[in-house]
């Protein structure tokens, strides 16, 4: 299966947050959607997930339009099995009253039904897949660390057996040592299950480790796209170049970056006086 987004538009008041954005994710592929705050990347993620309605354009999964309003349980579940989502903040993305097992069981009961034993087996399978043990299985979210919560959130998303997983800044709130664990986990899951990723991030270095293709967003538009390695090695659009130059490293010259940013902004301001 594949995801096709065509000419997506979304306006919030006077702000055109998403401006004719198109992209596709191949079956089992992984697309990085990169940009800074306000670039429209999270809005796109929410549109694809069905949490937000686009003002224009379409999102198709294997040819079926996700923009159509669905009624009824079967249609809802079918949509849920197309796309699932993992959110940025591990502290707010789990119901605080439910243990890990309860959280997962509820989703499995909805999608698989099955006997208690079968559900429990599936829970164990998922816990195993994301690397959580018995202690974490019985714990409430507040008893878990940020990294563990994010593993629970990933397991919950996988419970519906989706074909595509949207990861919205899914590692941004984690400490570096934990972030690496989750990034590796995500790579493993993709290898094992053949699931596709739409990986939304502000961090080019992180995107490099989980995506094959990347689309760079700036002010609601995609300004550059291509294979991740190629874009990172030889960025063509000045904004992509700025983004890459902004990442600190030894020998880094913040003054030059600041100048480049001002130049880009001045350039943009002269193009569209708003």
């Amino acid at each position: 299966m594949s995801l096709e987004a065509q000419g997506l538009c979304k306006r919030f008041g006077p702000l055109l947050a998403v401006d004719h954005v198109s992209f596709s994710v191949a079956d089992g592929g992984s697309l990085g959607l990169v940009g800074e705050s306000g670039s429209g990347k999270t809005t796109i993620a929410r549109i694809v997930a069905g949490l937000e309605r686009a003002d224009g354009g379409s999102v198709r999964v294997d040819g079926t339009d996700r923009g159509v309003h669905v009624r009824g349980r079967a249609a809802r579940l079918a949509r849920a099995r197309q796309v699932q989502m993992v959110f940025q903040d591990p502290y707010l993305s789990l119901d605080p009253r439910l243990t890990t097992v309860e959280t997962l069981t509820e989703v499995i009961a909805l999608h698989d039904g099955g006997t208690r034993v079968a559900r429990r087996e599936r829970v164990d399978e998922l816990l195993d897949q994301v690397g959580l043990g018995d202690r974490e299985a019985a714990a409430l979210p507040r008893q878990l660390s940020g990294g563990q919560r994010q593993r629970v959130a990933i397991a919950r998303a996988l419970a519906a057996r989706p074909r595509l997983l949207i990861l919205d800044e899914a590692v941004a709130a984690l400490d570096v040592s934990i972030q690496a664990q989750i990034l590796n986990l995500l790579a493993d899951i993709r290898t094992q299950t053949g699931i596709g990723y739409l990986f939304v991030s502000h961090d080019l270095a992180v995107v490099r480790y989980v995506t094959d293709h990347v689309a760079v967003m700036y002010r609601g538009r995609v300004v550059e796209r291509g294979q991740t390695a190629a874009v990172l090695a030889a960025p063509r659009h000045p904004y992509t170049q700025l983004l890459l130059a902004s990442v600190p490293r030894p020998g880094w010259d913040p003054t030059a970056v600041a100048q480049a940013r001002r130049a880009l902004q001045a350039n943009n301001a002269s193009e569209e006086p708003s």
Partner: protein, 293 residues
């Protein structure tokens, strides 16, 4: 918006310190208040058994009798036993507010969640009608009801249930919108759960403690308002015992130096309302602590 990783440590510390103090001080106070309320409820239920005398038995020889072995809290204007009247009076004094908070909380939750979840026109309609009701203070609406229907508890209770609804509905709407914006609710929607299921199983249980805290506080307010109505002669009608009515009946006796018949029901009202305040704030504190954790 959440800060990326480090909260200011001094702030964390203050919260932690507050929690420890809260557990020590709020803990036992909360238990005492809850215990007291349980006793009051028990007394109200068992008033026939525990009351030493008939609350309606008039005895002119005991008029304004001082406290003593015959009448532990003395006699009132008509020589009725003050203690027995207090114990029986707990019934109407608690039942009225109970009806008010149950009805207003149920309606408020329904309207608030509905407005927050649906947004748009529904939200606008609910918010505007709540604003309309909000302009009528509870006591005024109750007095209006009495003016239309005549004295008694029923009309004021209905009127006050209506008047209290906006407070709950606003609170629920705000809490539910805030909760609905959290990613875990979005996650359940993406999972394919119906709106009803998400609300009933996840959103409501998570905001319920906040509502419960407000409801408990409202019980105290409703008790004061209904007692005030009885005091004005619009609520519970004499000779039925009620704390508000008792104060009205025996106010004149104060000028003769007989404080007990009117002061005792006053003390009962204050103590019960204080207990409701402590329990309500105890619940609110627990919520705050859970959020901070």
């Amino acid at each position: 918006m959440t800060a990326v990783n480090t909260a200011a440590p001094e702030l964390v510390r203050r919260r932690l310190g507050g929690r420890l103090r809260g557990a020590a001080a709020g803990g036992w106070l909360y238990l005492v208040a809850a215990g007291l309320l349980a006793i009051v409820v028990l007394v109200a239920v068992l008033a026939d058994v525990v009351a030493p005398a008939d609350p309606l038995a008039v005895s002119l020889s005991d008029t304004l009798a001082p406290a003593g072995p015959d009448h532990l809290l003395g006699g009132d204007q008509s020589g009725r036993d003050t203690l027995s009247r207090l114990l029986h009076g707990a019934r109407s004094s608690l039942l009225g507010p109970l009806a008010v908070v149950v009805a207003s909380t149920a309606t408020g939750i329904l309207l608030g969640v509905w407005a927050a979840w649906r947004g748009g026109l529904v939200d606008w309609l609910v918010s505007r009608s709540m604003e309309l009701v909000f302009a009528f203070p509870g006591l005024l609406l109750a007095i209006l009801a009495v003016a239309l229907v005549g004295p008694g508890l029923t009309a004021p209770v209905i009127a006050m249930a209506i008047a209290y609804t906006p407070y709950i509905a606003r609170l629920v709407r705000a809490a539910a919108s805030q909760e609905a914006a959290k990613p875990y609710i979005a996650a359940y929607r993406v999972q394919g759960f119906s709106g009803l299921a998400v609300n009933a199983r996840h959103l409501l249980p998570n905001i319920f403690p906040v509502v419960l805290a407000q409801t408990t506080l409202n019980f105290g307010y409703a008790l004061m308002d209904l007692a005030a109505l009885s005091y004005l002669g619009f609520g519970v009608q004499p000779p039925s015992p009620d704390w508000g009515t008792m104060i009205k009946e025996n106010q004149a006796a104060m000028l003769e130096g007989a404080f007990l018949p009117s002061v005792a029901p006053g003390v009962c009202i204050v103590v019960v309302v204080v207990a409701f305040t402590i329990v309500g704030e105890g619940i609110a504190d627990r919520v705050a602590r859970r959020e901070a954790a």
